[in-house]
């Protein structure tokens, strides 16, 4: 799957959870840059990503999910 396609799907999931799309999808994007993306919504975003890409994250994967670039790479490594 292309990187841009993964990014677009993630964008849709985040928008649904935080209820707005006032953010730009860059590799440097972090939770702090998106209003409403906090510890409570984080799990909702993870569940959405798991369902959308039919993958399962492990607890230790969470530590590496600190930027959008890392999240995309993690998803790519799991779907390949």
């Amino acid at each position: 799957m292309e990187r841009t396609e993964i990014a677009e799907r993630i964008r849709t999931i985040i928008s649904l959870v935080v209820k707005h799309d006032n953010f730009e999808m860059t590799d440097e994007l972090t939770a702090n840059d998106v209003a409403g993306w906090d510890s409570l919504s984080h799990v909702g975003i993870i569940v959405g990503i798991e369902a959308a890409f039919n993958i399962k994250f492990k607890l230790k994967d969470l530590n590496g999910m600190n930027t959008m670039g890392n999240i995309i790479e993690l998803i790519r490594s799991k779907i390949e």
């Binding site: 209820k19 409403g36 906090d38 510890s39 409570l40 919504s41 799990v43 607890l59 530590n63 590496g64």
Partner: protein, 478 residues
């Protein structure tokens, strides 16, 4: 040595002078002096527990390095568990062992089984709940690869025992404080004056507000069987103001003293009483503890329970808040306090409004009616739950509630006009300054110098003239 004492004033003045003018030349001597000052500060409280602090620091420092070096997962885990066991073990023994013993004996007595297990009545080492959490976050962050262990023992020992926040927080995380300890501090006039302003506001909160509340609260809670119901409600309200003024006042002073020696430590409060729901309240109350709990307790729990949807989220929140409650002390009242706060999140989760957070009355003088209703409901929940927080037992809390929710709730009450005026003044200043780091951070800054100094003089005079009799900080017992 408490912040509000002659001994601390002398200590800090001497420390400040030597720190900047004698030991300020290089990083190593600055840090060694911070460490020496921190140990002197701690030993002043109780020198006997200094060995526990040093021992925990030494073991955690070595384990941190070896966790990083460990080549296989099993060894890494064993070292991590060893580190957690030594700090949590000390906390459990000193803080919770008697509670477990009493609960165990009580549980058996229900079945008419008498046990001859005695409590051990250990003194709680001051600050143990706070520095234990610093060490745990350091070890867990190394294990998860978020940080690298520091190779400099002076830096690590200073991180654990950093005196402005050693006794009562804020609980700084390694990734925030250690980089500041690894870089030489240079004196910044603006940072120092801002620190002094925050100390001044912390002193006002503690001495003028909290210390004036103490006697009234004690009078009402100690005689709750003999005062009218309306006074019991007033007592719960004043107690809530007292806890906030006391603890946030301490945090302001801790942050201010840190800024005077060139550090920026974690913010601990963000005007929690103006929150529009309970989630917002906990995002702005004792922030350093709630973010700690969120990262190391709530996130792993909610992740593990994610396949159960909203039920999983509710379960994670309930468990998280029970632990937040227990952190405060070994008493079932704290368990119930935490459980209830967890329950208050349930409507937000079910309605899907848990993530909505907006600044109340942004750039307006007054809140809208809807905002006022939300603030009032949230504040009422906090006030009522604080009765359990303040009570010595669950029985006493329910007895207080049953007396309060009686027809005399609407009868006459003891009034404390002077205290209520002080509280009204305090809350008004907090409301006007709610967009800043602390209420008076920007107040008077744009005024002419004379007016500004007149304002500070008035605050200082208020502290001396209407300050209450000095009482110990509430959070020292935790």
């Amino acid at each position: 040595m408490v912040f509000i004492s002659i001994s601390f004033v002398i200590f800090f003045l001497v420390f400040f002078f030597f720190y900047w003018f004698v030991f300020g030349r290089n990083l190593r001597s600055q840090n060694l002096f911070v460490l020496a000052g921190s140990y002197l500060f701690y030993a002043w409280w109780d020198w006997r527990f200094l060995s526990l602090l040093i021992g925990s620091s030494l073991l955690s420092f070595l384990l941190g390095i070896h966790i990083e070096k460990a080549t296989n997962e099993r060894r890494r885990r064993i070292l991590l568990y060893l580190g957690l066991l030594q700090v949590l073990g000390a906390l459990l023994i000193f803080k919770y062992l008697d509670f477990f013993i009493v609960s165990f004996v009580d549980a058996f007595s229900i079945f008419d089984i008498t046990t001859d297990i005695r409590t051990i009545n250990l003194i709680l080492p001051v600050g143990i709940s706070f520095y234990t959490f610093r060490i745990i976050s350091y070890l867990l962050d190394i294990n998860s690869g978020k940080i690298k262990p520091t190779a400099d023992w002076v830096v690590f020992f200073s991180y654990v025992s950093f005196f402005p926040s050693l006794i009562s927080g804020p609980i700084d995380r390694a990734q925030a404080l250690i980089p500041q300890l690894e870089k030489k501090r240079t004196f910044d006039y603006d940072q120092a004056t801002d620190g002094m302003r925050q100390i001044l506001w912390g002193l006002f909160k503690k001495i003028v507000v909290a210390d004036n509340c103490v006697n009234v609260v004690d009078e009402i809670f100690d005689n709750y069987l003999n005062v009218p119901a309306s006074s019991l409600l007033l007592g719960a309200f004043i107690y809530t103001i007292q806890v906030y003024a006391d603890f946030s006042g301490y945090s302001d002073m801790a942050i201010g003293f840190s800024r005077l020696i060139g550090f920026n430590i974690t913010r601990n409060f963000n005007f929690p009483f103006f929150s529009q729901n309970i989630a917002e309240y906990w995002r702005s109350w004792h922030i350093s503890l709630t973010t700690w709990m969120t990262e190391y307790i709530f996130t792993p729990l909610s992740f593990s329970f994610r396949s159960y949807g909203r039920t999983g989220l509710i379960l994670a929140i309930l468990l998280n808040f029970i632990l937040v409650g227990i952190w405060h002390g070994a008493n079932w009242t704290f368990v119930l306090f935490g459980l209830l706060h967890g329950c208050y999140f349930i409507p937000l989760i079910l309605r899907g409004t848990i993530n909505t957070s907006k600044m109340t009355a942004k750039s307006k003088l007054l809140p809208s009616l809807v905002e006022l209703r939300n603030i009032s409901v949230t504040f009422a929940l906090v006030v009522l739950t604080n009765i359990i927080f303040r009570a010595e037992s669950i029985f006493q809390a329910f007895s207080y509630f049953s007396r309060m929710f009686s027809p005399s709730l609407f009868a006459g009450t003891y009034t404390y006009p002077r205290l209520l005026l002080i509280i009204a003044l305090f809350l008004s200043v907090e409301w006007l300054g709610r967009g800043q780091q602390y209420a008076i951070a920007g107040l008077a800054l744009s005024w002419p110098r004379t007016a500004r100094w007149a304002f500070y003089t008035v605050v200082i005079m208020l502290i001396f003239v209407i300050g209450g009799k000095q009482h110990q900080f509430i959070y020292f017992q935790f």
